[in-house]
Structures are given as structure tokens and as C-alpha cells.
Symmetry: C3
Subunit: 423 residues, 3 copies
């Protein structure tokens, strides 16, 4: 399995933005682990109510004293420059510079993350203590950037299933050196794809998208409108590398994935909270817009805007842990496995109970139970609720039995010809 | 605006009953403030299972001592005579009189209100202390009344809306000198009509009915059966002039007005209680009978039968206050405004979020927010839920945001061509 | 009325099993009290996934010492022999005997109940103290039984109603000397049938089934498939003779009987608990299998498996009491009466309230109220909810009024031509 924390550390320094080589290199590194299609969409392409932005490239950025000492260097931390800053190279008074500098007085050692996608300006982000120590009258500011027609990049990995239906998992790839709010989702999504690449097809297809936020999601939606009805379950992954409890934000329209996530979390070992949908957050905003209303939820640990490290240099590789990433990966794989196994079942002949003894079912169960698998009661539940209307998750919820145990019972019953999958 | 308490005081002395000049004069005074159609329905007219009663007129009523001293005079308080009393003019022993006198021993200074619409008798209502002081052996009782074929009067004001749908608000006008249980509803309903008369048409029509209880409602229903399907919301107003908490009795069939009233009360500053429908109370009994099942609730403060002053001379002009009447008027106007604005909305193109910046929406919102209006989050909710299925009230309930703020956001979005009203 | 406890005592010694003369004699005794059809189904008859078993007969069974002393005799307690034991007649060492003896070390004075329907063996059940006292090296075991082709017996009593719809009540008849877990249900079901036999037809038919567990129910279902759609309500009776609180296990699919039982218990004087359906228990397992999904619940006091006396000789005639049996009988008859009276009603003219006074309804109610019957409010509820959609039980639940009182009000309204029953 992919070393999740190593991946976070490796991608951390890349200067990601909505567009440009930071995203491109990120996608190239993901593509080392999984078969990834990298799409380039030209600047200016109309996508729904938006258009693909110009491509912003930054090469260098510094603030120097008059004596030439480099006291701020973008090469040290790519949060130092406000995203989409225009080029500049001149002397500025401290007073003028102050209007272009962002700090966080309440977190004096943290560099804030700021971007101004469509603004016509430039800016630096500094820790407040650093800025406080800069007392010269005059500084030389230098940003070597350009904003020109190019393209926006996004990555897509698709693993077909045995049906046309699919699960979509997305992560955003447009934030620079932020570990939880960007890289944790990228790493877990990559590992999920790598696992499916190894395991081969499931019942449902699995599509993994690495998208620049908002305009990337809108672009993908615009270019895939004709096949959106194949999406049966969607999940946005973000901020899942910290050690806090899980938070799941429900879909807009009470989709099956909401119940599936609740079941996985309820039967897991981690603290969690379920939150109602609201039209603010990550790309579920786009997937859940009323003209699409796709069944997307969003899985997080820390919640954007609600944690101290959010959008600052404190959201670094130490804020996310290898253990937390692995836990999150496990939750997501359990979820995907549940969705994949969540079939509807029908008794071949549902009139009365089948005679279990004659069919060797008690022996089969005895073998299972030794291994912590399905019990006789689990089998009775499956046989009773296999009426073509209950999915396995419906059964698990009604019987208050973990999905995996009912699934094991269902497999036995399928093998003995007592039940079969139905649409 | 109408001086609500002045109106209560002015109408208080009129000798209202199911029929007769007390109601007629009440309607005439209402007609000073609003365009009111006064209907006269002849006695004996069959109306559903009922018929319009004979018209009862009372001119004078006294009890005198043998020496001619007038110790009870209907002219002092029109509660003194049991409604629909037959004429009488003779000497009676105290023992016989006692069988015709109603008092309230537990409230010795209060005169009870009694009526006997279809009985063949006469009676007086006295305070218990008054009656206790009447120790003569013989009294002369005198009631100058008649019960003859005439007509029943009711008032109706209709303000057409931009659609055929309408809101109906009713108050009963058949109680004599009772301020809360009669006049408070009349005053607020009149003010509501006057406000709409000034403001001009809303989305929905507004119909205000001033009806003698039970048979008045049944008569109106019988004469308007062909257009009852236009009634989208109905409200009976009663006992809303006292200073207690609000009580709202829900409609029979879970009508939208129930949620609207709950929203207004939940977002208001007053204590309140929501009560389930029951088939006892005011004219909602008729509107909510199973053959009509109209969406009528009943808004009260004190609940009939549950307050000390109910149906006694203690329910006078001091029991209702100008402030309480104004509060009730405000609750009712907020409710009517909400119902009137409660449209369903649809995004012009609901695929993804619209680009708010390009359209100047952030500027529009900034202006609003300064004035306590809609926020960006309010707008996002409206844009997300404008799928043609959610009414603004649905949105407000789901988002847990006051209706008025979502309405303000909706107006901005409508002005910018992002959403439009749908049926 | 049948003496319930006498019936339990009388049937207690009979050696019931799935098949054989114990069941046959039980049915014959039931047939003394009610018209009962006794069915015999030949061994080997295929019934759904099962087949009717061979008939097991036991005549004698003893354990003797070498000196011929009879220290265990099946004639003393028919629990002493494991059901379906094969014949045996030989000397066995205590060690070998131990492998054929069942005891309950935690209940040293109780004889367990064991059966091995389809096993090829023999066995004895003894109290642990008895077994502990048996210290000889060698014993002579003797079982005179056979297992041959014969038939399985079950009993059926049907009382037609005024419609084709019917209520089915079942009790199992396959347990030997167990009083609560077998005879309590048999006695109450018999008394219920006797009552209907006396009273004559109700609105619904009443069918009482006395069935060997599982294969008896499956046999009845297999032979009556063509008319199962007539079953509107079904109830399995078991363990209802002890003095504990009532337990009602709901049907699989939220059937009306669940609400009816809840209403009866809620308005009764006994403690109770409602339990969700689960696919384990008595014959509701078969009736509620997905291919039938019949509306069957199960009424118990003690819950199988959850009480100390369960499946031991402690479940004897002292464990069930005459009073408890009578209470259970009353609950069941109230339930059946409610189901029988639970008609849907429609106002003849539902537009407005009818004029009660003119029709003498107030007088009719006054008479009732004196007798603790329907009040005016009860009548108003019935008149308001008689819209053709509400059953009387729906009304009772909504109005929070006991069913019997609303039924009394409905009868008055029916007699006065205000409402009528609808389908």
C-alpha cells in the first residue's frame, strides 16, 4: 500500500494553484501510483456559468532590504505570495507594503494562505512576528509571475465495474503547501485507486477525480453531463489527515451514501459527527447544485474554517499523521466496499423458512461463527428480509447488525441457492 | 393604522347576538375603515344541515322591586339578559326568579354570559354578590324583546390578488359585551384589511369575514361552495387582545399555514404554544369539517374556556390592552406577508453555482448585510434549493434561517435573473 | 366460560410432540369445547421446502438399576425422554449413559426439555440432583418407541364473519408437559373460539389454528395458499399464562394489528413492552416469511428464552395462574373486538357540523355519559374524522381517546344516520 504520509511530505512543497505547473507536477506524481488520465482544458473555455481561467505561473518572489538582504523568499514557503499576484519589482515604503501584506496577529508565528483568483493586485503573506520585525522605511519587492492563456489541469482515474453504475471520489488539488486541506484527500484518494487497480473490478465502477476547486469541478461536470446518471454515490474527501473525530456532511437529497457512511462510522472505532447538508464547503457545492443534485457527501476530520491551523502554515506535514491517514483510508475503503456489496436480494422461494439442516447451512454457519463471521441469526435476518425490496444495508440497519456480517450470511445463502441478487 | 383599542372600546357596548341590530351596527362601524360588503340572509334560509334563525331583538329589560326601584337594567350591561330571551312582564317570587337567574358563585363580582339560541325561555345574568343582595319576596321582571322572521347579517371584505388563490381570515361577531372573545379578533381583522386596502394587491387574494359563530360560517360556506378551492390558507382570529402567550391550534390536515404560523412564532419575540387540531373551538370547526377540510388554523392568546374572564363581564376593555392588540396585529401581518411571499423558485440554470462576482452579487449583498438583510450564505441557500420543489418557507425551515432574510436573498437573485418563480 | 387453568392442568400430562397421539388427544379435548376440524397430513407429504415428518410414538421409558429398581420413569414426567428418541433396551455404563443424559447444573431440581426431531439417537433428561445421586456403574436403559410413517395432526376452527376478511389466531401444540410454553396459548385460543361460537358472526371471520410448531405452520400455509389474502390480522399466542408483564412482538411489515395491540395495551391496566419484529421466535417466523409477509404479531407475557422456567419442568401448572390466564384472555378478546369493530366511517354529508340538538343527539349522549360511555367530544371527533379515510382506530389514536368510547359514539351517529361504514 502507498505510504500515505510520505506522499503528503513529497507533494507538500509543490506550488499548487488553480492552474499551472504545481498542479501538473502533483498529478504527475499521483500518476506514478495509479493509471491517471491528465486533462488539460484551455484558458477561456466556457464551462457552465464560468470560464477556465488564465494560467498563473510564479517563478520567484522576494522582499529585500535596501542593502539587498533577502528577508522573505517564496522559495522557502510558497504561502508567502498571494495566489494570482501580478508581477512587481520596485521599491516601496513600509506603509505602502503594509497594504500588500497579510498576517494573523492572533497566530503570530503562522503564515496565512491567501489567494485572489480574479483580482488585479499583488501581495505577500507573512507571519505576524516576522512582519513586526521588519522596521525599515523602504523595501524592494520582487515577484516574477505571469498570467497568460494556458490551460487548467485535472486528473481522472476510472476503474470500470460489472455494471454501468459508479462511485465517484474527489479531492481538490489547488492549494499550495497545505497538508490537511488538500494533500490528505489526495493521498487517501490515490491509495483507494491503487487498491482498486490491484483488486480488479467491483460491482460498481470507481472514478477518482483530482480537481482544482470549484472551477475544476464545474469543468468536469460540464464535460461529463451526458453520463452523470451513472453516479450512484459520490464522496468529496478533504481534511482527513488530522487526528480529530470524523465529520460527515450529508448530501443535499438524503442519498444512500449518507446512510452508508453513518453505518460505517457507527460500526467503527472512531468518534464522529454527522452534519446536515449546507451549500457551503468543498466541491459537493457543485455536485449538489440543484440542476445536478448528485448524491455527494463530504468526509472530513477537521472541518474547514473550524480549526486553528486552517489556511495557515500550521497546516503542515506535522499536523497530519501517518496513523490518522491510515484510519481515514480504512474508513473510506470500508465505505466503498459496503457500497459495492450493497445489493438487493430476493429469496428463490420466500414461502416459509427453508430447511437449513437438510442443506448443510448449520455446518456452514458453524465454520463462519468460529471466524467471527455470520451467525444463524444473521442468516435468518437475510432470509427474512430478502424480499427484493431490502438492500443489505437496509437489512443491517433494521437488524442492527454490522453490514459485513450480514454480507457474509448473504454469501452463504447465495452459495446455497436460497437467495439471488435483483435489480 | 387603526387604533385597535379604541375600536374595541367603541364596539364594546353594542348588543351583538347571532342576529339583529347589534351585529348590524358592528358591521357598519367596521365599514367605516374598510370596504365591506354586508350580507343579509333571510331567516329560515336552509344552509347545509341548518337554517338561518329568526331575528332576535331586545329593546329593554329590567328587574324592579315592588316599589318600582330598578335594580337590574340591561342598558347598563347587555350581558344581563340571556340571549334569545322571550318577552316577559310580570311579578315573580324570588324563588321563581331564582330559576331564571345565572350567577357565578366562584367569581362573585362577575356577570356571566349566557345564551339560549333555540330555547323557549327567558333569563337574567347577575353577579353573585348582586343577586345575594336581592332579598325581596317579589320582583317585577320586564323584558321587551321579540323573535321574528328577519335576517342574519355578516360582513365580507375581499382584496383580489395576482392569482385566484386566496387567504381567508375570519372573526366572530355574535358576542355582546365581550372584549377578548369577539372584539379583539374583529379589530385585528379590520386593521389587516385596512392595511391590504392601502398596500394594493399581493400575490394571493385576501378575504376577511365577520361572521356570527357556527351558523354564520355555515351560511358563508353554503353560499360559496363553488369557490372554496381557491382558499389556500385560512385563519380564525379570536381572543388575541390579552397579554398572555400565543396559542395556535393547527388545521385538521397538516396544512401549510401550520408551518407558516410556527415559523412566524418561532422567529418572533413572544411566548407561544402550538396545539393539535381538535373538533371543538371556533369556526375552524366548520371550515375543517370533513366535507370541506379547508386549511384553517386558529390563532389565540388566551384559550376559550381556559381563562378566568372567559364568558363573563371580566372580559372587558381593560382585559385587552393596546400593546397586546398591536403585537397580535404584527404577528398576523407577518404571517400574511409570509404566505403571500411564499413562492416556489427555480434556478434559471441550476447546473453548478453561478459566478456571483461577475454578476455584482457580492456588492448587492454587502449593501443588504449592512441593513441586516440577506447574507452570502442566505443567497447560497436560495440558489441551492431553488429547484422548483422548495418553497421559500421550505428553504427557511431547512436552512434554519428566518423567512424574511431568505426572501431578501431571493429578491436579489430574481433581480439578477438567477431564479424565477414557478407554480 | 372455559376454566382456563383447569384446561391447562388437564392437558399437561399428555405426551405432545410434533406428531403422534399426544397431539391427537390434545386436539380431541379442545374439540369438546369448540367445533374443531382435525386434519391428518400423511408423513412424507411435501410442504414448501419441508416434508411432513414420520410419526413418533413412545409407550414406555425407564432407567433401572441392575437390581431392577426403576429410578427414572417417563410415565412420571414426559420430559424425561428426549423427543424422537430411538428405541433402546440394554445395559450401559454410567459413563456411556452420561453421554445420553441432559441436566441443568444451574437449576439442579429442574428437568430440561430436549428434542431431536431429525437426529438418530436416544436420550434422557433428568434433574441435575437426581443424576448426581445416580452413582452405580451400570444401568439398564429402556425406551419403547417407534418412528414410522403415519400422519401429523393439527386443529382448525373457523367462524365465518360478515365479510371474507378474517383474523387468524394460532397456538402451538407440540410441546409435552410445558404449561406456559404451549398450554397457556392453547387454553386462551380455545376460550376465544368458544366465545365467538356463542356470540355469532362478527364483521370479520375468526380462524383459530392449533399447530405443531414450524412444520405445522408450513403445512397449513402450503395447503391454504389460495386464500391467504383474506387474512387481515394474525396473532400467535404463546407464554401468556405467567404473571409477568405483556410483551408484544410486532409484525414484519408494520401491520394494523401492531397499532391495535398497542392501543389495547396502552388503554389497559397491565404493564407491557412492544418489541420489534425479528426473524426468530414462534410461528410468526413462517407467517412473516417474505413470500407470505402476512400481518402476524406475537403476544406473550414471558419471552421465550428469557425466563428461568423456559423449557424445563419448572414451566408447570403452578407457573401459570388462573388470574394471569384470565387477564390474557381479556386482552385478547379486547383486541379481537377492536379489530372487528375497526371500520372506516364516512359522514353522510360532511359539509359543516350537523345540528345535534334538532336530532336528539344531546339527549342520546346524556344517556351514554351517565353510563361512562361516549361524550359530546367523542361524537365531535367521530363526526370530524369520518371522512372515509380514518378507521375508528385512527380516530382513537389521533384523539387520544379509548377505542371503545369512540365506537360507542360511532354507533350513536350511525343510528342517527349521520355516518355510515365504508370499505
Amino acid at each position: 500500500m502507498i505510504d500515505l504520509h510520505e506522499m503528503v511530505r513529497r507533494l507538500y512543497p509543490l506550488p499548487r494553484s488553480l492552474t499551472g505547473d504545481g498542479v501538473r507536477e502533483t498529478l504527475r506524481q499521483i500518476a506514478r501510483d495509479i493509471p491517471l488520465e491528465i486533462h488539460e482544458v484551455p484558458s477561456g473555455t466556457p464551462v457552465l456559468d464560468w470560464e477556465v481561467p488564465l494560467e498563473w505561473t510564479i517563478r520567484k518572489a522576494t522582499i529585500r532590504t535596501l542593502s539587498g538582504d533577502k528577508i522573505v523568499d517564496w522559495a522557502d514557503n510558497n504561502l508567502h505570495v498571494v495566489g494570482y499576484s501580478q508581477p512587481v519589482n520596485r521599491l516601496v515604503s513600509r506603509a505602502e507594503l503594509a497594504r500588500h501584506v497579510h498576517t494573523l496577529p492572533d497566530l503570530p508565528d503562522a503564515i496565512p494562505y491567501r489567494t485572489g483568483y480574479y483580482a488585479q493586485s499583488w501581495g505577500f503573506c507573512l507571519s505576524h512576528s516576522h512582519w513586526s520585525s521588519m522596521t525599515d522605511e523602504i523595501y524592494r519587492v520582487y515577484i516574477d509571475s505571469d498570467l497568460v492563456s494556458g490551460s487548467m489541469s485535472y486528473g481522472e482515474a476510472f476503474f470500470p465495474g460489472n455494471s454501468e453504475d459508479e462511485i465517484v471520489v474527489t479531492a481538490h488539488v489547488c492549494h499550495p503547501s497545505l497538508a490537511n486541506d488538500n494533500l490528505s484527500g489526495i493521498a487517501v484518494a490515490t491509495a483507494l485507486a491503487a487498491r482498486r487497480n490491484l483488486s480488479g473490478p467491483g460491482r460498481l465502477g470507481l472514478r477518482i477525480l483530482f480537481l482544482p476547486g470549484t472551477v475544476g469541478a464545474i469543468t468536469w461536470l460540464a464535460h461529463n453531463e451526458f453520463k452523470l446518471d451513472r453516479i450512484k454515490h459520490g464522496l468529496v474527501l478533504t481534511c482527513i489527515g488530522d487526528t480529530g473525530p470524523f465529520h460527515y456532511k450529508q448530501s443535499r437529497s438524503n442519498a444512500p451514501i449518507d446512510r452508508a457512511v453513518a453505518h460505517v462510522l457507527n460500526n467503527g472505532e472512531h468518534e464522529f459527527e454527522i452534519r446536515s447538508f449546507e451549500p457551503y464547503g468543498y466541491d459537493e457545492r457543485q455536485f449538489c447544485s440543484p440542476g445536478f443534485d448528485l448524491p455527494f457527501g463530504c468526509l472530513m476530520r477537521a472541518v474547514h474554517g473550524n480549526f486553528r491551523e486552517y489556511h495557515t502554515s500550521l497546516d503542515d506535514c506535522a499536523f497530519v499523521t501517518a496513523r490518522a491517514l491510515t484510519e481515514s483510508y480504512q474508513v473510506v475503503t470500508r465505505l466503498v466496499d459496503l457500497l459495492d456489496a450493497n445489493r438487493k436480494l430476493l429469496r428463490q422461494d420466500g414461502r416459509g423458512e427453508p430447511q437449513l439442516g437438510r442443506r448443510g447451512l448449520y455446518r456452514a454457519l458453524a465454520g463462519q461463527a468460529d471466524a467471527g463471521g455470520a451467525t444463524q441469526m444473521d442468516l435468518l435476518w437475510v432470509l427474512n428480509l430478502a424480499d427484493g425490496n431490502h438492500s443489505l444495508l437496509d437489512m443491517a440497519e433494521r437488524a442492527k447488525i454490522p453490514f459485513a456480517r450480514l454480507d457474509a450470511a448473504a454469501v452463504i445463502a447465495e452459495q446455497h441457492g436460497l437467495i439471488r441478487e435483483v435489480d
